[in-house]
Symmetry: D2
Subunit: 317 residues, 4 copies
């Protein structure tokens, strides 16, 4: 458990530092015979790119498939995908070498490993989610042939005017993503999830909370159920997950994301020498990361569901 | 991933159906040399018992240690603990054999396995958490010698009058549990959590959401951070988790639990033959399960932290 | 990887020290709907018992199923089985407390854990294999309904006269076990094994070498292939395993077991204080452990094949 | 368990088909702070290359490190290494598309996945071991700073004249590799291995048997112990592994490799249509693969020992 692998049968490993040579993923355990083209991956990666002048660095993010696919179909062997890092401006980060940015992982990574790649956050950068989206594209394709679709949306969405305003202030915003898994007509979204520790909601929670800025998740009535009576709760429409196992109905959850921690506004920061310093973070950062997290949430959900779909083949003799 | 094991180094496996022979757990990977007595386990189990006339069946829950401990100390071998089921009233459940109780796992278990032990919910019963609490007692002991303590509380608490009222109505209530992990003075609550998928918060989310009635979790500012600006969020007191790794500060989270689904009030329920039936659930059920979930939340938190504490020994050469 | 679990889908965890309260196993991931009776387990355990005056302690080894089976069928939940230790003569081991018996794990366990249960070898005792045989009984049943059978035999067998002679000398013997996995007519023994690290032969090697006294394993032509030409080797009858994947043909292997290390004859042994002592090992020990290892080899083989049989359900879309 | 990952803490995943874009590996869980240069990897890869006119295709095998290393030291993040495939002659394999070569994995891969990359054996090619050697270079470096060294040798070695002769005949040879793990003076080669299923010898067996052509392994006295008495066996010099745990002494094993299955000589082969055909295998193949397997055996041994060395940090409180 060095932590860079997710899943048991449909297993995703990611690698790459923000300013290193490349980002990438290995998808191991994808069944043989699934049609995959490079454009399946490119399309998902496009959805993750910053789409305005308000965003962080815009790289072409061109994926290359190194293995696992032959004549357009999966071989059952590990699928390796890499995306070169081409647009690094490492010098932007020079002055952050000895400073721990607020709400960033700088301090904890140094405390854990005694050594870190400070350029752009290194492995703790949001750029790591690119690898998840690439892997998720394959999971989505596998779900699709099983009639299952996944779609997420920021809710409420953030207006262009609000973003402009924050950019001017040198500030940032958080938000909530609502994600739905739709059962389709194949009836295959049933019986997914493994009691007792690997309940479907427990694994989805792990999948989504593993995304950098995510600070919480709720299923069904979620936090509002704290104030409901049993008779009220039980009268709600049948849930997509009961006892940690999918019921065959559509299922959904909300995940909350904190505001982008990298802001242009002057802030206090802890320095390596113990002193407190004023910093103004340079570099290109998203005013609101939430729209770009949407395909990441979908990817992690797809990977989780794909894994359970395969595993469900082993539930009965 | 049959789902009954949690953890990688400090590894807990549970077993047992509510009305079967026994509940139990195996704790594998607990380091050798830790002092454990049967009363360490009994004390935690006591905290999980119903403490009033308002609760479900009250068994003695006498734990027996079958292996792994010799002369009062852990051997480094698997610690097996069992608790016999002595107070089953299986006949209470006879009429539920062909009925799927609302908000229960009855339907989904039957859909998944094609066969289930309907008595008291079988393996999906809340009684399963007994095994977690037993295992958690050992994890807590290990954390204690490392200066780390865990304490949870229902917040706000529920009043005796409110419980009486609900009982009369044949209804139930949910609630929120707040859990704190305190760093103590040893400085060991730092560097715990593994990027990128096994972040400390991601693993805690999985641990807590795997508890039957839990419907959501939030860390730090949680769902309220959706409406904060970056400058506001960054100005909050230093969080216990940054980038999925513990910072050495105390850390905390909130988890929400839905109302007990088993209520005496008449409800509509789906029957195996597809019809809808009126049911009034008999048996002994908690009006509010949340106070009894408190030691379960502590146990799962302790197991998660213990696992990461061991794993952190491998972070550096 | 605390080491007491084997398998990924069909997952076996064992526990228990030779002179502790009980031995036992948890079988997690056995599919729902498999018919299992207590006599299935008793019969296999009987095959493991010493069958003569030449053997070690003869306990009744009465298994008790604590969970996972309801109305004679597996539920898909963890199957817990325990066997109480009833016939311990711990005092036989008193003088070995400070001595490391030759070819035993006494020294290495103390070196690793700093603490051990010296009575009868504790967890390193051959008695641990009882748990494997219990779990293997379930794996065998699962394979049987898939047309696959497993049978092992000591080859050459050891004669009663040879055993008598060794007993008189206070000495012991090793031997070789030949194990066959027969495909039957269902055609299901094909495509088992996962490239590249979890090849069928690699996993079987791990399974068999994990049995205490095993010192080697060979598949097909094995060690004799070192002296064959490619043209000779390729002309051999089609192998049951090619490239780590089963071909659908019967497959077999040989495993070698060292002589029982506990012998009555006077030997030199290392003591805890660094001195060398003469010892004559008391207690009841098998002159030749190999016949009793036969059902253990079968059990580990069955567990390995059952795991791969389930996993093979996930190879294709 | 899709099978392309080995290890629990020091975890190696490999990918790549012989005639695909690239071979590669991810090393996850390597501790932070280890000095690694590209030449560490190049040197090991060189040892694996064919060193004469007798061998298979000779590619430059230029490794590229994509992540995990910064300023010459490991970051604690996944180390991704790739080697481009540059010298494929896929057309050599055109006529093998519908034929299953004797003693090769062609038939079983097709049976398992229903689809395969036939070019050069695809993922089942010996070229896959390149990824292991790259990962092993890092494991070796980690062991070195802990005083542990690994060296393997073909025994007996094969003479140049013998190779010439076989080449003329269009035939091939197998052989035995002897591998030694030397403890050095740091005293760290003690207490490695996890009872009961993850014994050091069991894991080494899995590691070595996972190498394509390996057909058997033996530890210590190995197969000869079948004919020894206990008193003789116990009198042997203290073994490096007792009860599956390393004793601190040097340890060793023998592994046998079958003759290269690809031979120029005319052979009978099964065709996809069920007929039997005469084939003469073209392409570049090693007359004796064993010398090239030496660094692979070392690599797998190093990966196994490195994993246990890290895990041993968790054995005691």
């Amino acid at each position: 458990m060095a932590g860079n692998t997710f899943g048991e049968i449909f297993k995703v490993t990611t690698f790459g530092e923000s300013h290193g040579e490349a980002m990438g993923c290995i998808v191991d355990g994808c069944p043989a015979g699934l049609e995959i083209s490079i454009s399946d991956i490119e399309e998902e990666l496009k959805r993750r790119r910053p789409n305005s002048a308000l965003g962080s660095r815009d790289e072409e993010d061109k994926p290359e498939i190194l293995s696992g696919i032959y004549q357009g179909k999966t071989l059952g062997t590990p699928i390796a995908i890499i995306v070169r890092n081409t647009n690094q401006k490492s010098s932007d980060y020079d002055e952050l070498k000895e400073i721990y940015r607020p709400s960033h992982a700088d301090f904890t990574w140094e405390a854990k490993y005694g050594f870190r790649d400070h350029r752009g956050g290194g492995r703790s950068s949001g750029r790591e989610t690119l690898s998840r989206v690439a892997a998720g594209a394959i999971a989505k394709k596998f779900l699709l042939i099983n009639g299952i679709t996944i779609s997420a949306v920021m809710t409420p969405s953030i207006s262009a005017e609000k973003l402009e305003e924050l950019k001017k202030e040198g500030d940032s915003a958080g938000g909530i993503i609502h994600c739905e898994v739709k059962a389709g007509t194949t009836g295959l979204l049933v019986g997914l999830g493994e009691p007792v520790f690997d309940k479907l909601d427990a694994r989805l929670a792990a999948a989504i909370l593993s995304i950098g800025a995510c600070k919480g998740i709720e299923f069904g009535a979620g936090f509002s159920s704290a104030n409901m009576k049993g008779s009220e709760y039980n009268a709600l429409p049948c849930s997509g997950i009961l006892g940690g196992i999918s019921s065959g109905k559509d299922l959904s959850f909300n995940a909350v994301f904190k505001p982008t921690p990298s802001i242009a506004k002057k802030q206090k920061a802890l320095a390596k020498d113990g002193s407190t310093k004023d910093i103004e973070i340079k570099g290109r950062h998203d005013v609101c990361i939430v729209p770009r997290a949407v395909p990441v949430v979908e990817a992690m959900t797809a990977i989780t569901i794909a894994d359970f779909l395969l595993l469900s083949r082993c539930a009965r003799i």
